[in-house]
């Protein structure tokens, strides 16, 4: 119960947090934007402003291809993760008896070191790695499989695994919220189990599914560690290129422009996706 009269004290309480976040988030992002417009010859800023970086980012075919690949990989990861997570969330929401335990068990992997999880996959998928040596030992193959690592496939598998735990929660929450009596009513009105799922459960869980998709798609496009460790040259994504600009190549304006363009693209795609999903849900009624 909030006391509207005292809202002044409320703003006061909120201000330190807001101030820090503004400092640590808004100011840097603004700087990022400014830097993307700076003009640079060699490694020295020559004081001018230019849109040349953006021209470079959007113009170069290799960059465009990189963006496309990043979005493509991210899209695959999102699809795979959400599709795999849905039945799991369904199980916990509708059939599990000790829901709390399941949820904790599913959440724990999410809190362990991401770096270590990617590293684990590197070991698993490698040429002399766990899968290959295991399959050879079991005499299922003679030569190690070369296609497992250092390509987009490895990136997708690793990221899907990394996000698997995270996707469950939003879907679970929206499934849990569904009033069970709705399903009973549907059954009473003649729908069998599959129909009930398609006509009641699935549509009502859509907000959770969309939420999970956005939650995964947006950060994944900008992921650095996984492509760097398991992507090889064929599986690099935008973040790897950005990192190069800031460390070895020293071309910060280009790096900034790359970062902003990729965020803009992701935001647009996410926005389109949400709009499309909403329209589809409304049309399906």
């Amino acid at each position: 119960m909030a006391d509207g009269r005292k809202s002044g004290a409320g703003y006061l309480l909120l201000s330190p947090t807001l101030a820090v976040m503004a400092l640590a988030l808004a100011a840097p992002l603004a700087l990022l934007f400014i830097y993307s417009l700076k003009s640079q010859t060699g490694i020295v800023f020559d004081g001018g402003w230019t849109l040349a970086q953006y021209g470079e980012v959007l113009g170069r075919t290799s960059y465009r291809a990189l963006f496309a690949r990043s979005l493509w990989i991210s899209g695959l990861v999102t699809l795979a993760t959400v599709a795999l997570a849905y039945p799991m969330a369904y199980f916990v929401a509708f059939h599990a008896r000790r829901k709390f335990l399941w949820l904790v068990a599913l959440t724990i992997p999410f809190w362990t070191s991401y770096l270590l999880r990617v590293f684990a996959w590197k070991i698993i998928l490698g040429y002399g790695g766990v899968i290959n040596s295991g399959l050879i030992r079991l005499h299922l193959i003679d030569q190690p499989l070369g296609f497992l690592l250092y390509n987009p496939f490895a990136v997708v598998v690793t990221l899907a695994h990394a996000w698997a735990a995270f996707a469950i929660l939003p879907i679970y929450v929206s499934l849990e919220k569904i009033d069970r009596s709705l399903l009973e009513a549907a059954g009473d009105l003649g729908d069998g189990a599959l129909r009930r799922f398609l006509r009641v459960t699935l549509p009502l869980s859509m907000p959770g599914v969309i939420g999970a998709a956005i939650l995964i798609f947006v950060p994944t496009t900008g992921d650095y560690v996984t492509p760097e460790l398991v992507g090889g040259t064929r599986g690099t994504m935008i973040a790897n290129l950005i990192e190069v600009q800031f460390n070895t190549a020293g071309n910060w304006p280009l790096g900034a422009a790359l970062a902003l363009v990729s965020m803009a693209m992701v935001a647009v795609i996410a926005g389109l996706f949400v709009a499309a999903a909403r329209a589809a849900t409304r049309a399906a009624r």
């Binding site: 909120l14 330190p16 840097p28 992002l29 949820l103 809190w111 362990t112 950060p219 990729s262």
Partner: protein, 263 residues
């Protein structure tokens, strides 16, 4: 029946989640330089080697320092904001919360480089302090989520009842408000600590010469002969993370009827 295949699926999913991670402990006790089958017998020499690795211990110290400070500051800021939002009617509260939660939606590479720019522009040195700032960006939203969930169920009347029954504002805080907030605060501290402890990319850009543990591990990854020791270290980190998370979930739900899970 549909149920059976769903149960099977559930356990298979759980296996998919955990088994790849089990690679680390399994091969950390493997008596071989190579991380491959067949297994070559049990050993603890990789773990023994860790205690002699001064660079690693130094990085560990840095991670602990950064983690503890991040946890304290993030929880404090999260607590203030959570109290403001749940106990006062604030206009635009949704937008403000959205803003504070923005870091969750921004790739950490972007967070890393933009903070790098901020440090450059303000002359602030690359250091553990910078790392703490970066980590707070990511941890405050987590702290906020945990604390809002905990505070939302807090009956405002409880503080009034305490005053009505004769306790001053200070005693009311000590006897009612603080004990009820404690589980949420403890959970927030644990979760933000783990998040900071495991965070790699932002620290990578901001730490300068003061490497954190994930940065140290990253540096070791290009040396094949170091890999088994990295596995040993990784196993220890995993075990501690799991322990802390389980503790946090337990603490978070003390005295709550409907368990709250997840971020």
């Amino acid at each position: 029946m549909k149920n059976k295949s769903l149960v099977l699926y559930a356990f298979a999913y759980l296996a998919f989640l955990y088994v790849p991670v089990l690679v680390l402990p399994v091969f950390s006790f493997n008596n071989s330089q190579f991380i491959a089958f067949p297994l070559s017998g049990f050993t603890t020499r990789w773990y023994a080697g860790l205690s002699a690795d001064s660079a690693m211990l130094h990085a560990l110290g840095n991670s602990l320092k950064a983690g503890i400070v991040t946890a304290l500051l993030s929880t404090l800021l999260g607590l203030l904001a959570a109290k403001a939002v749940t106990q006062y009617r604030l206009r635009g509260a949704g937008a403000l919360l959205g803003f504070i939660s923005l870091p969750l939606f921004i790739p950490d590479i972007v967070l890393g480089i933009s903070l790098l720019l901020l440090l450059g522009a303000t002359g602030f040195p690359l250091s553990l302090a910078a790392v703490v700032l970066g980590h707070m960006l990511v941890c405050v939203p987590f702290a906020l989520t945990v604390l809002i969930a905990r505070l939302e169920g807090f009956d405002r009347n409880l503080e009034e009842a305490s005053a009505d029954l004769g306790e001053s504002a200070l005693m009311t805080f000590w006897r009612v408000t603080f004990p009820l907030m404690l589980p949420g605060i403890a959970a927030s501290l644990l979760l933000t600590f783990i998040t900071s402890f495991d965070e790699f990319l932002v620290a990578y850009f901001l730490s300068g010469t003061e490497a954190t543990l994930p940065i140290y591990i990253w540096g070791q990854l290009r040396f094949p002969e170091r890999l088994p020791m990295v596995l040993a270290l990784g196993t220890i980190i995993l075990a501690i993370s799991v322990a802390l998370v389980v503790l946090a979930e337990h603490v978070r739900n003390l005295g709550v009827k409907k368990p709250m899970v997840g971020a």
